[in-house]
């Protein structure tokens, strides 16, 4: 796997951890251990999203940094498969 593909997959994994924790915390709003895990992975995800956008292409519109070409529009379509 290229660095881009590995990073793309890692973002998918970290975001997935956050999603599962979000749903757990929605019904367990006072579980401090879960919140600690969440805070930890949330920081990691934000860092990875910013780094990926800067190196390759933005995964959310607000992370688009464009000078000559609209990077958000040029980002690959998710349903085409393979990063």
């Amino acid at each position: 796997m290229s660095h881009k593909e590995q990073m793309f997959r890692d973002i998918g994994i970290v975001d997935f951890v956050l999603v599962d924790l979000i749903l757990y915390l929605d019904t367990h709003p006072f579980d401090v251990d879960a919140m600690e895990y969440f805070n930890h992975y949330s920081k990691i995800k934000n860092q990875m999203m910013a780094e990926f956008a800067q190196k390759y292409f933005p995964l959310t519109g607000d992370l688009a940094e464009s000078s000559k070409e609209w990077s958000w529009g040029m980002a690959p379509l998710p349903w085409e498969g393979v990063c």
């Binding site: 998918g12 994994i13 970290v14 997935f16 951890v17 599962d20 924790l21 757990y24 367990h28 579980d31 251990d33 879960a34 895990y37």
Partner: protein, 56 residues
């Protein structure tokens, strides 16, 4: 047919209502790649499908 099994805990709850036991999170999977392929970070929520028809 078997006679129903009385559970000390749940069968003392008010009837005409359903109760799902609370999940108490202890650990998440160590291997997050594996958790991703499985579809949950919680080992106790991993309930894979293994059924097969087995009729010719």
């Amino acid at each position: 047919m078997q006679d129903y099994r009385f559970d000390e805990h749940f069968d003392n709850y008010p009837i005409a209502m359903a109760y799902i036991p609370w999940q108490h999170f202890e650990q998440i999977f160590d291997n997050l790649e594996e958790a991703y392929e499985i579809g949950t970070i919680f080992p106790e929520l991993n309930k894979p499908f293994t059924g097969r028809r087995c009729v010719e």
